[in-house]
Amino acid sequence: DAGITQSPRHKVTETGTPVTLRCHQTENHRYMYWYRQDPGHGLRLIHYSYGVKDTDKGEVSDGYSVSRSKTEDFLLTLESATSSQTSVYFCAISGPGDTGELFFGEGSRLTVL
């Protein structure tokens, strides 16, 4: 299994509070991704990173920011959480050969009250 660790795995917070989710990899892969998973929507890309300090937006990036100061860590921040951001968040890294094959973390379940 790919070495991907997400933290926290579960979090309950209130509307308007900041939240940071962390993804840590031990594979030294260049590309890292944050997806959200919601019933009826499958997985949707929030942001991705193609190197240290190199990030770009995905299809549902509004309300989210990311940072990558080290190869192994990719942080997802909700500056002011809203109930619509209640979701399960998955971090992923690209497999070898850069063909788009992804390896996923176990997910972080976020509930915004």
């Binding site: 499958g42 998955f90 850069d98 063909t99 788009g100 094959e101 996923f104 176990e106 997910g107």
Partner: protein, 117 residues
């Protein structure tokens, strides 16, 4: 932009029966295609992938999928389903993503498989 359609939201089969999960994609060139499986409370695990070559690809857990360019399909099959196959299955298409030099995956909305003992 690429897209993926999984027409079946939920499928129920009896244990030992055959299975086919449908996936249709939209992409202008030859895509990279993937099937992932997600057990409850878990992340996604790669079942199989198609990049090029033989259009019938074998994956883990006895699954296979066939790429049909003329139908823009990549259907997943298993000849005999086991109770442990109950999970949600996601088809995905990978295509080059501008600006980063990487391939990006677009996922279908998933098909939930229930297995009757």
């Amino acid at each position: 932009a690429q897209s993926v359609t999984q027409p079946d939201i939920h499928i129920t089969v009896s244990e030992g029966a055959s299975l086919e999960l449908r996936c249709n994609y939209s992409y202008g060139a030859t895509p990279y295609l993937f099937w992932y499986v997600q057990s409850p409370g878990q992340g996604l695990q790669l079942l199989l992938k198609y990049f090029s070559g033989d259009t019938l690809v074998q994956g883990i857990k006895g699954f296979e999928a066939e790429f049909k360019r003329s139908q823009s399909s990549f259907n997943l099959r298993k000849p005999s389903v086991h109770w442990s196959d109950a999970a949600e299955y996601f088809c995905a298409v990978g295509a080059p993503y501008s600006g980063a030099g990487s391939y990006q995956l677009t996922f279908g909305k998933g098909t939930k498989l229930s297995v009757i003992p």
